[in-house]
């Protein structure tokens, strides 16, 4: 029980973020994937929304113990961004896809990473993102009596702020 004291050398054995980014790029050969930037133990990448499933299938094959930390959704005005945060080799990879603000829709990854179920349901609740391929998206954080079509984290159109 219990590992030994962690030394500074151990920490340097971790693969670097550049290495992780390289591995992801080579696994996802042929996809429209762009590594936007690297920072300390973080990799930021972006890709078109249609390839999310294929991406996770390949990455999961490469790192079977992949840990999906969470999925962030945000309304940046012209579009809705979905960011998948997942951990591989102690590097947090942030995969961004941009969706159309009027009909935000992306494929579900529930069957590849069952953990995403709760995160997808939350995004459906607060931003109204459709996850194609799910049989149902029951409410997670909002009460059942919450009105359909009202999404609390959507930006309110200009001139309408005082009612928000």
């Amino acid at each position: 029980m219990g590992a030994d004291v962690v030394s500074v050398e151990d920490r340097e054995k971790f693969p670097s973020e550049a290495e992780v980014a390289r591995k992801i790029k080579s696994a996802c050969d042929g996809m429209m994937l762009s590594v936007q930037r690297l920072s300390r133990r973080r990799v930021w990448i972006e890709m078109p929304s249609g390839e999310v499933r294929a991406f996770f299938e390949r990455v999961k094959k490469l790192w079977p113990a992949l840990h999906l930390s969470t999925i962030t959704g945000l309304d940046s005005g012209s579009e809705i961004e979905v960011i998948y945060h997942f951990d591989v080799d102690n590097v947090l990879v942030n995969l961004r896809v941009k969706l159309d603000a009027n009909t935000p829709k992306v494929d579900t990854i529930c069957d590849i990473l069952p953990v995403s179920d709760a995160y997808e349901r939350e995004l459906h609740d607060v931003l109204g993102i459709e996850f194609a391929g799910r049989t149902s998206t029951p409410r997670l954080v909002l009460p059942d009596s919450w009105p359909e079509g009202s999404y609390p984290l959507r930006n309110v159109p200009k001139g309408d702020e005082k009612h928000a």
């Binding site: 029980m1 590992a3 030994d4 151990d10 920490r11 973080r42 113990a65 709760a118 954080v141």
Partner: protein, 388 residues
Amino acid sequence: MPEIEIPVGPQHPALKEPESFRFEVDGEIVKSVDIRLGYVHRGIEKACQDRTWVQAVYLIERICGICSHSHTTCFCQAVEEIAGIEVPRRARFIRSLFGEMERIHSHLLWLGLAGHEVGFDSLFMYAWHDREIILDALESISGNRVNYGMNTIGGVRRDVTEKDVDELGRALDLLEERVKYYTDVALNEATFRSRLEGVGKITREQAIDLGTVGPTARSAGVDVDLRRDDPYAAYDEIPFRVITADGGDLLAAAVVRLGEIEESLKIIRYIIENLPDGPIAVKAPRRIPAGEACSRYEAPRGEDIHYVRSGGGDKPLRVKVRAPTLANINAVAQSMRGARVADIPIIIAGIDPCFSCTDRMVRLDDVSSGRTEVLTWAQLSARCRASR
């Protein structure tokens, strides 16, 4: 015997916060469970967007009463990364110090609750009695017992004095002895042990597949700890052990948490012996440059993750919080199948759930008109003032 539906929650003595679990039971065996979250969703993420960066820190502190320091540290780190602020070394050590003190009081709280859930109230009273030692130490340094208000963007707000260090040293001696005693009780008291052993069991593979974090994952043999794997604050300079166990049951969870208290005591000793001199904070700009960052923190319950986006203004554009309980709740659903009714409370308690962290919108139902509306904080407080 017919199947009976047992509702546990939204109000139930086994739950310290409102959430709803519905169990189909056949005799004493659980057939299925339906979990419904959101009862303490307070819209903190949305409310952050209407606050300045500094105000948001204090709101985030109130996500949870137990891991308040975890959330603020996580948030401040993200903001500091966007703004490119270099936090002074002394401030990083003080952040780690509070993080470990918080871990101790959180784990002692868990131990007491675990005792209570299995009807061992003596352990509950004892553990919470000794938890006061660390709470008193927290109070004498920060002025507060639970929401310490220590963090600010760019560092910490209060310094740790020589006198605090002396007092803390004495508290550690006392706690060390008590923790040994609790480890002995948890491992050797026959009825308590029998209520934990083999209960709420998950395998290592399940722990990975279900995305569990923190002590829940470590008790199933998954060697993860962000303090080592993604070091923040002063953890890249502090030697410590990551405690894992391979049982995957609640006894292993107790062993891991008690081991972590012991390890935290050592970390605190190291910090107060090696506390560097220097300033405790640098001034942060009122407007944070545009950018985004994602910060992780090993909270007492596991990985806490904050995503922050700035548009260059004095308020955040988006703050996303994922507290550890949401990641661990899957493990509860998994280990409930086939469990005994008697083990329901302790399995729920086993992940050390913190539902106010998990849920975070203000919602008002106008009963008379049947209208539901979402209010901003300003509107809500205006409405409160009007009705006074």
